[in-house]
Amino acid sequence: MNYPVWYLPETGGGFLIALIAVLHVFVSHFAVGGGLYLIYAEKKGLRENSPAILEFVKKHARFFLLLTMVFGSITGVGIWFIIALVNPAATSLLIHNFVFGWAAEWVFFLVEITAAFVYFYTFGRMDSATHIKVGWVYFISAWMSLLLINGIIGVMLTPGLWAENMDFWQGFFNPSFWPSLFFRTFIAVMIAACYGYFSASFVADVAVRDSMTRFSAKWALVTLALMIPSAIWYISVLPVAAHTMVMGKSPTIAGMMPWGLVGILGLLVIMLGAGIYRPRFNSKPVAVLSLFCALAVMGSFEWIREAARRPYVINEVMYSNGILKSDIERLNSEGYLRQALWVENKELTGDNMLQAGEELFINQCYACHTIGGINNDIVAASKNMSFRVLTKYINTIHERRYFMPPFVGTDREAKALATYIAGGLLGKETIAAPLEMNTLAAARVLFEDNCSSCHGIEDLSPAFESLSHKEITAMFPVLDEISDEMEPFSGTAEEVKLLADYLHSLNNPVAPTGVSGAILFEDHCSSCHDLQEMVDIVDGQGSEELILLLGTLNDISDEMEPFSGSATEQEILAGFLESANKGDQ
């Protein structure tokens, strides 16, 4: 809200960050681990007095230089550019707080590139001992760059006390600093070993190829093994919410985890089979496959790390859409649009709901959702929802799905957003259709309006257990006789009947009506499922089974909670699904 939004509705900024970041980290970790690999590969060549191995190291150093200096360093600048474009507020906050961490990283970057050039251009010209020392200067400065960036990006996931006091050192040495540093160091060397394995596949001399293949495979396997305890340590220090999401609550993470596991398994198979056991199996296609496996491991790790901090971009401080957590209360009471800088519709009038809704979408939803794009398409995500359900959903979005930031603004602003999504994007009616007055759902609204301030359904249910519908109806005009605190119910005759229906149904479930079941479905299920899909899912299940199913939805998926309506509503919804299923058949 403090900065303009670079709005590419079909692309989405998140996609661009992911694209640049995953490719960058894959090369930048190689730039770190590769330093160590080069030193020990050169030492091996010297120890074995093998000019062929030294020639391999020199060629590998050239490949290393071309990849890390050009692609690695420029995409590093690219990440900086893209995060400032996609989330300038978060970038600004981090830059201002950690400016000297970044400045120190710049110094190490300078030493790193100088050492890389000296290492490559003096290969064979410098005495070996000094050349190895240059290699160490390179590796240490590259690793220090990793250490510094690790501290800064770690704070985005596990801010610890920094979230409260913004102290540089407390933020830098955040709770995940050490496990993340170990994990990243091992993954960096593992990736470097894969690149070494790849380079070895190009060597014509069979003896050298076998020797360097086995050498690389050993490095890959050892670091792969060391990654596992550090990953467990890493996960153990995550805050509860992030931990829960990593363990399966987040659909993004659940979708990404298999890629990482496949990558690890692939690497194990390749490095053991075509590395240690039969190095001769190392060929260009196998080596490329190993790089893809390493990319899958690295990419899924980064993706999971990014997803784990949702709904925040900086955990507990700033939401993904750049809104500070500390501003929520004020914005909810004063209105988002009035406080946002880069919006044209500062006030909601009857005429600008659509335009204001679009601006709210751009400012609050676009950080994660595209329109018709491949990444979190809002049209696909909301296609089953009506305007009424969307409005309700928007107001409870964070409670329903933790990984989404809460909607920030007034109720009218929520309606404006719902108007834009339902009307502007989905082409649906944007007037909340009045509830059919013969439905239980409408009766429930009456109950909430007139009774719920003092009574809960659970309290009243036993009291009405032995009363007939007629007896309940007869109570309404004389409520003041039951208690001085109550007044006679003043609704219309139709409302009296509806409320009596509702209270009677608490102990006498009525036959489910199509309309009320449909509304319950819309309210509780439609944000993720369409009716046909549900009909297919519940095919062959009877009402009793469905009631049980609705009460244990969390057993089916971590993303779902057990049905949150009353027991009666649960029965009605189950009946609705059963009847829809029969109708379908």
Binding site: P88, S92, H96, L341
Partner: protein
């Protein structure tokens, strides 16, 4: 003022003067490296196309140096860009978003240009006629990057243009229609060509012991290029100066004693540099040329401060002191310089050993 949108700035950890000093210290280094890259490459292309033994040798020397220079241009760009974000972030982030599509294009363009430079270096002999062709493409790509940078640096100084965002949310705003844009851009690029001459002279000096003919050629050519393009750039500079809005122009015309004095000193430096170049005094020309670049960055900073003076001044930045990370950075910087000195020495030893 009513329709001006300026984001809220974040707090800074040390007094703004430190950041301003670090910005003014690091930006000229980036600029000099950029000039060496762009100007050096242009000279290399012309030499390569012209043919002749010594010309081709020089083109090859430049081709070998180019990837290294690009690496340092990028590296020395990181530091000023960082410090600029700290003190002018609210303007820079906004302008970057407004031209986001072009801004992010810098990255793929630079990657292609950088790989082109390596190709030109590693395959200099085998590429034949394609060599200069590739070098020209790289040069054009670098000019495009400069064009985008000039747009952003100007746009961040023009918050009155920020409301154009509402009709262009896809990040495609550029400000080359601003009356100061073209003289500003051309002044920068022409300056790069001039300083590129000095860079070529230095390249020759490094090779003096091994190849006296090449060194003489480099020095003669470098000084000629510096002389001619500096003269042209004086004209462009005057065009730029008089294209400035009246209040900014007056800043250098007595409105502000410091700014005016600095401009006068810079003009004397230009004259001195031209005379020295004419007299073939290489190191004096070099020293005055470098000094001139430093002065120009100071003038540029002064101008930006004045552009934004209606909306913002650096003393408005809120300070929440945290000095220990700053000390950590300074210690790191000293250690880094020692390391680099060691690396350079060892490298020089290695190359001096037959």
């Amino acid at each position: 003022m009513e329709n001006i949108i300026i984001p809220q700035a974040d707090v800074i950890p040390v007094a703004w003067g430190w950041f301003q000093a670090l910005l003014l210290l690091t930006f000229p280094i980036h600029l000099l490296a950029m000039n060496a890259m762009l100007g050096g490459l242009a000279i290399g292309i012309v030499q390569h196309l012209r043919g002749g033994t010594v010309e081709k040798k020089l083109a090859h020397r430049i081709a070998v140096a180019l990837p290294l220079v690009i690496a340092f241009v990028v590296n020395f760009g990181v530091a000023p860009y960082l410090f600029l974000q700290v003190i002018y972030g609210q303007f820079l982030y906004s302008s970057s978003v407004l031209m986001g599509t072009f801004w992010i294009l810098i990255i793929p363009i630079l990657i292609i240009g950088y790989y082109g430079a390596y190709l030109y270096d590693f395959k200099f002999n085998s590429l034949g006629i394609f060599g200069p062709f590739i070098a020209i493409i790289v040069f054009c790509l670098l000019l495009v990057i400069g064009f985008f940078f000039s747009n952003n640096m100007l746009l961040m100084s023009l918050p009155e243009r920020f409301t154009d965002y509402f009709s262009q949310k896809n990040g495609t705003m550029l400000v080359y229609d601003n009356v100061t844009f073209w003289p500003r851009y051309l002044h920068m690029m022409c300056g790069a060509l001039a300083v590129g001459g000095l860079f070529v002279g230095v390249l020759g000096r490094f090779r003096k012991a091994a190849d006296i003919e090449l060194a003489d050629h480099c020095e003669r050519l470098g000084l000629n290029v510096f002389l001619v393009f500096t003269l042209v750039n004086v004209g462009l500079g005057l065009w730029y100066l008089f294209s400035l809005p009246h209040s900014q122009l007056m800043l250098f015309m007595g409105g502000n004693i410091g700014a005016t004095a600095l401009l006068v000193v810079a003009l004397f430096t230009v004259i001195g540099a031209l005379v020295m170049a004419f007299k073939r005094k290489f190191w004096l020309s070099f020293f005055l040329g470098v000094t001139l670049v430093v002065f120009m960055t100071f003038l540029r900073s002064w101008l930006r401060t004045d552009y934004l003076s209606d909306y913002f001044s650096l003393d408005q930045l809120q300070l929440v002191p945290q000095y220990s990370p700053f000390i950590f950075f300074l210690v790191t910087l000293v250690a880094g310089i020692i390391c680099i000195a060691w690396l350079v020495k060892k490298s020089a030893d290695a190359f001096s050993t037959p």
